[in-house]
Symmetry: C2
């Protein structure tokens, strides 16, 4: 049981930032409450593997409670924070409850941004949560099913065109994964269509893919994606999405399945902090990751805009969140020990993105490499960081299995069939004896 | 590609009956279409393991397409049959399509029956599909989360009371599984509640559990469940279910989580067959599993009422469905070969039910046994019948892991938090500085 006389650290969000802050405080004289509206921590870098039906949700998620089970000074609360009263040091929840804090750590992450076109969201879901991943999986698998029974070639073509918007790591990884399902996993499953003929397009508004990587690796990723059969189009900004088609750079692309990986916006909770926000809705933080005038309020990870010497901000990637979480725990401990604060410095270990089966690009400690070696590095780093031992072993087995069999293990659609966005076959005319599917 | 000049066998439902019928026709001169409104075959006997968070959905489900991938004369259609026109030999789908058949095989299974109280369904979900299992899992896990932050002891008690209605195999297995989660898997996860103190009740209207088993095994199951801490109450008919409580045999039991395992009713599609139905909505079939006057329409498995010499009907269990499917394939083949039909005979190999970790009851070839040996038999039989090799290996590993660690691997809630059925904590009064959870 936690001791109410100790300083209370409230952590909003059980992502990488929040969890590393909580774990870093295990031996500090505080009590910690981690609040999340979901019961699980999610290993987001592998989310696209759930969307592409290679992994199960529980392979990349662990209950936050289990992760903190042994940490005596921590408790976990399933609740949604709706407002922070910075003046009263109080967090309010959407169900009417509230919590008093001495330190607040905000690691509430980001959602997708549709650049003012929120009406696109139902047509082009993004990939941030397990629910998103399962929805994308459902749409991709359903598109093949609907194509299989569609007689009209134009509509069938729209079912078999998959558009991924955004050429960052998520977009590249998702496009590669969809291209592989189509080419290998589903190859012999259908009778009237050849899934291998489906079109996968990756649309990027800027001049190249993976802009945070060196140019040579962007080019390499593009080549690898093309080899997988992905049509990569750069300088192609999406201007409209409607049921059944996408308009981009003057083109109209008929497609039933659009996946959004283009922009981020921080959680709306940050607005109640009364701190300056940047254009992506992130709190502009001081060198110690706190908001101006409130050294007791830390904002971390994707929710923070941390200025860099070159005028930019730290990217919204997992190592930044982890290091900020660890830094925050150390800073709170030194506050309580009466020691002065030191500024946060990000130690850049590099970046990695998977392009497809056995292919990746890596930019690590100024070394640029790609191909199978980069892919093995990716597997090693990601398995190593997966929280929870059981998951590591099982994920490795599933991957090995998938890799050697070209199979997709988790190809289950677990929702009632919803009406497709376009009418299916017309009513069967009475004079027609042939069946719709023969 | 299938040949349209061959007789067309349309199979409704990719459960055990439908799938075994389809596979049995692999070398017959027919073309086969399997229609299901889901894309997967479900290994229903292990569904309660998904509900109790021990297994993932994809561990017990395989895409029907993958199962029939190599069968050249079969195709699979994702569609919902809405009506059979027996006179025209035509099946209509809810989206307007239709199929012409020469033989029809109906294996559409059963849904839960609430004995005229359909308003109970949202309060007490049953366990028939993966969606049902995930919903029950969500409710069970959420109940512990809500109890953890509930200050009012009466409401906390209602969150920590789980009621399973129905003492058949599904009810017994589910009650045992919930009792084990509570006792082992969640034991150290919470700070304000002790999950081990949660109450699990199994209510049965009749005089004993597992009525299809010999009395000694019913007694054994009851003893084992009690040892696990399940309160078993026989002759306790549920008369009312409301949000927050259940009334049964004059008692009012405060409970937020009720699971229905009490009665079955066959799929409503059967009404359009114009055949006599029994009180559970099943088609009363002839000795060759067809409906009167239509030797080309077979009704199998849970959808069929097949009369037995003792005046009863065959039970709705998986071996009956499998044998009926195999029989139907043989019968269609002998029709086409001009040979006379033979009546269906069920070969009773016995029955098995799991009571908890390492405990089961078995009634096999007149041998009655229970305990660890019965449990090993259960594991062996079920793993053996799991369709798809990958699943078998992974399920075995997951089970072994669960068994030795007392863990529950798949404890992830994958839906947005829905409003709980009862209001949560009241608004935090301004004078109160203590937080809701401290």
């Amino acid at each position: 049981m936690t001791d109410p006389r100790l300083p209370h650290v409230v952590i909003l969000g059980g992502g990488f930032a929040g969890l590393y802050a909580a774990k870093g405080l295990a031996h500090a004289p505080v009590c910690v409450t981690v609040v999340d509206r979901r019961n699980h921590h999610l290993f987001q870098p592998m989310l696209y593997q759930v969307a592409s039906a290679a992994l199960n949700p529980s392979d990349i998620a662990s209950p936050i409670r289990s992760i903190l089970r042994k940490q005596k000074n921590a408790e976990v609360l399933l609740a949604e924070a709706s407002e922070v009263e910075v003046g009263n040091r109080k967090v309010r929840f959407s169900d009417g409850g509230c919590l008093q804090y001495d330190y607040l750590v905000v690691g509430t992450g980001a959602r997708h941004s549709y650049f003012g076109h929120d009406e696109w969201e139902p047509l082009a879901p993004g990939l941030k949560s397990l629910e998103d991943a399962l929805e994308i999986r459902r749409r991709v698998l359903l598109a093949f099913e609907l194509a299989e029974r569609e007689r009209d070639p134009v509509r069938r073509h729209a079912y078999l065109t998959f558009v991924v918007v955004g050429g960052g790591p998520t977009g590249v990884e998702t496009a590669g994964a969809v291209a592989e399902i189509r080419r290998y996993a589903l190859r012999r499953d259908f009778r009237h269509i050849d899934p291998g003929e489906a079109t996968v397009m990756l649309l990027e508004g800027g001049p190249r893919l993976l802009t945070s990587y060196p140019t040579e690796l962007s080019d390499k990723a593009k080549r690898d994606l093309r080899r997988l059969g992905v049509e990569v189009r750069t300088e192609t900004m999406v201007t409209e999405i409607q049921p059944g088609w996408v308009r981009a750079a003057g083109w109209t692309i008929p497609s039933q399945t659009v996946i959004w990986a283009a922009g981020n916006t921080a959680s709306p909770l940050l607005k109640s902090l009364d701190a300056p926000l940047d254009r992506m809705g992130r709190a502009i933080v001081e060198p110690d990751c706190t908001i101006p005038g409130h050294p007791e309020v830390f904002v971390l990870g994707d929710a923070a805009a941390f200025a860099q010497p070159d005028g930019g901000t730290l990217p919204g990637i997992c190592p930044v969140a982890i290091q900020m979480g660890q830094y925050t725990a150390r800073t709170i401990a030194s506050d309580l020990g009466g020691r002065p604060r030191r500024a946060f410095h990000y130690w850049d270990k590099g970046q990695l993105a998977v392009v497809g089966r056995g292919r990746a690009v890596a930019d690590i400690w100024k070394l640029h490499f790609s191909g199978f070696l980069a892919w093995l590095t990716w597997i090693f780093v990601h398995i190593f960081f997966l929280i929870g031992f059981r998951n590591r072993v099982l994920v490795l087995i599933q991957w090995a299995w998938s890799y050697f069999t070209y199979g997709r293990g988790a190809r289950i659609i677990t929702e009632e069939m919803r009406p497709p966005p376009m009418p299916l076959t017309a009513d069967c005319p009475p004079e027609e004896v042939a069946a719709v599917s023969r």
